[in-house]
């Protein structure tokens, strides 16, 4: 696959549109994740309502792959049950570690399937996972926070 093909239209559109970008209230957890080798950074907030991801808001800088994948993630998790988001995150992560040898389920990953080509460029896999790992971390924090408040 050529690099030009790796940069699917879907990726470039998300890169420029950055769905859900910006920091919003309310939120239960806020995390910062960085990719120290390239300096990509994301500050991400999660707002949960019961078992649902009510909002994910973020402020991030980085390459097209990290920005687009965060935008796609936003679309895939917001308004849906936490559990479903976690399953999607697992499917996305598995695809990214497949080196491109993977049959993605479009019903699960939706626009995320555009990243299958990125999985063939090992140096960019970390970029694609930055937002997702921040989201998983933030949810874990928010849930832990909720438990504390119940105690």
């Amino acid at each position: 696959m050529s690099v030009e093909q790796m940069y699917q239209e879907i990726i470039l559109d998300h890169y420029k549109a950055k769905h859900g970008s910006g920091l919003r209230d309310p939120y239960e957890a806020e995390v910062t994740h960085v990719n120290p080798s390239c300096g990509d950074e994301i500050l991400l907030r999660v707002h949960l309502e019961g078992d649902t991801v009510a909002d994910v808001s973020y402020d991030s800088v980085g390459c097209s792959i990290s920005q687009a994948s965060t935008s796609v993630m936003h679309d895939l998790v917001v308004g849906r049950p936490i559990e479903e988001g976690m399953a999607t995150a697992a499917a996305f992560t598995e695809m990214m570690h497949s080196r491109g040898d993977f049959e993605p389920d479009e019903d699960v990953l939706e626009d995320g399937i555009a990243f299958l080509g990125v999985a063939q460029f090992p140096a960019r896999v970390k970029c694609a996972l930055l937002g997702w790992s921040a989201w998983k971390d933030a949810v874990a924090h928010a849930l832990a926070h909720k438990e504390e408040n119940h105690d």
Binding site: V3, D13, E41, S64, C127
Partner: protein, 443 residues
């Protein structure tokens, strides 16, 4: 003003007449097999030499020959091979000393430039009994390797870290430093880069040395980007300690150098403890060897030192004056060609005056979108053009410039104008590719 470093007499070769133009690469490229490689279906255009240089055959062969035919430990093996290995190892030290105009016993081998700077920070901190009220001065244009060791030292001792700012055109802001009394009677160490690995700026080392010495401070120089491309004479440079790294000057990885004035090295305490750095070891306490052995605990990188010796032979065979001259010409060409690209902004001096061969830049597409350096790098790589994208281990500098990352093309003695042209064509392609997508148009 002509660069005094470029005018300094080269001990190794006649200066090239400027009319010879870009003659140097053609005469050396054949020595670097990697330069004939194809990458992603295109001839390799290697423009990442500030990151690490490519290696000529002579260096690799010297290393292989040593390992295959002369291998033994140094200093402690008494047999014939041990003698050969020790001689080859010390020969490497003498060659490095020769390149610098130094005495061999002033050349300390470390793992890399970073370790050399950590050695400097540790031992100076102890030697100067650094404490609260004392100040260490660096600059905002430093590589992390010349920031973090001093931050750690200041944390350990309570001393204060201060730094030079830069001007808008990417030079050290000497005027602001004077106005703020940055270097003053509390300053104990000043540690600055000679050539910036991002901006390419060549700092006025001799003038800065005078500034440091006027207040009695020790002056440390990070020569990682300078020693590979400029003639060096430590007798007139003004540095007390000079750190650099083998892999950026045609040598192997795993080896760095800390040169120091012998009178200073003699006063510094050991850094790492172990074999070879001692005089007498008793369980109650030990005495230490004289420099350079004092700072070289354990079995050193022997084959690497032999190979660095071969790299120095190679560099001096070409002539540091010629290398500096080529670096100047190719950087001028690079600056001129890059500035023709719309939406490309050069960081640092845009004229080839006191300017090394690393040129960093940002790129914006026609629709006003910043193209991230990683994306630039990826598209260039697909056309065989190797550059670096990121913060180049200089995050504070990027922060100071108000950007997160940049792309960097860097040249060396084998870089041709054709390679610069290939870079420019690939950048134009990148710009067109990313500009061809309208903002969020799909939905």
């Amino acid at each position: 003003m002509p660069d005094p470093d470029l005018l300094a007499a080269d001990r190794s070769g006649a200066p090239e007449a400027s009319s010879a133009g870009f003659a140097l690469p053609a005469s050396v490229r054949g020595d670097f097999p990697v330069l004939d490689r194809q990458v992603n279906g295109h001839p390799l255009v290697y423009l990442d030499s500030a990151n690490t240089s490519q290696k000529p055959r002579a260096v690799v062969e010297a290393m292989a020959d040593h390992l295959l035919l002369h291998n033994a430990n140094v200093a402690r093996a008494m047999h014939q091979l041990g003698a050969e290995a020790s001689e080859a190892f010390e020969g490497g030290r003498s060659k490095v000393a020769g390149l610098l105009g130094a005495r061999p016993e002033e050349v300390v081998f470390t793992k890399n430039a970073s370790e050399a700077l950590n050695l400097a920070a540790h031992t100076l901190g102890q030697h100067l009994a650094l404490g609260p009220g004392d100040e260490v001065v660096v600059s905002v244009m430093e590589h992390h390797s010349n920031i973090v060791p001093w931050q750690l030292l200041c944390q350990r001792t309570g001393a204060t870290l201060r730094w030079f700012d830069i001007t808008d055109d990417g030079r050290l802001d000497l005027q602001a430093a004077r106005e703020q009394d940055l270097v003053n009677e509390r300053t104990k160490v000043v540690s600055l880069t000679w050539v910036s690995n991002v901006l390419g700026t060549v700092n006025p080392i001799t003038e800065l040395a005078a500034m440091a010495h006027a207040v009695g401070a020790v002056f440390v120089v990070d020569g990682s980007q300078a020693v590979p491309q400029l003639p060096v004479d430590v007798a007139t440079l003004g540095a007390d300690l000079l750190a650099f790294t083998s892999h950026k000057m045609l040598g192997p990885t795993g080896l760095g150098v800390l040169w120091g004035r012998y009178e200073l090295l003699e006063q510094l305490p050991p850094f790492l403890g172990g074999g070879e750095m001692i005089e007498v070891v008793r369980m109650e306490g030990s005495t230490y060897a004289r420099p350079p052995a004092r700072f070289e605990a354990g079995t050193p990188p022997i084959a690497e030192v032999v190979a660095l010796g071969a790299a120095v032979d190679y560099l001096r065979g070409v002539g540091m004056q010629r290398i500096a001259h080529h670096e100047h010409l190719i950087t001028a060409y690079l600056l001129e060609q890059l500035q023709r690209i719309e939406g490309l902004r050069i960081l640092g001096p845009t004229v080839p005056v006191d300017r090394g061969g690393a040129v960093s830049f940002t790129l914006t597409s026609a629709d006003g979108f910043d193209i991230h350096p990683h994306d630039v790098m990826q598209l260039l790589d697909s056309r065989g053009v190797a550059i670096r994208g990121g913060h180049h281990c200089a995050r504070p500098l990027h922060h100071r410039l108000g950007i997160q990352a940049s792309s960097r093309a860097s040249a060396y003695l084998y870089t041709t104008p054709d390679e610069v042209d290939a870079l420019v064509a690939a950048l134009e392609h990148t710009r067109a590719f990313f500009g061809g997508h309208s903002l969020g148009g799909r939905r």
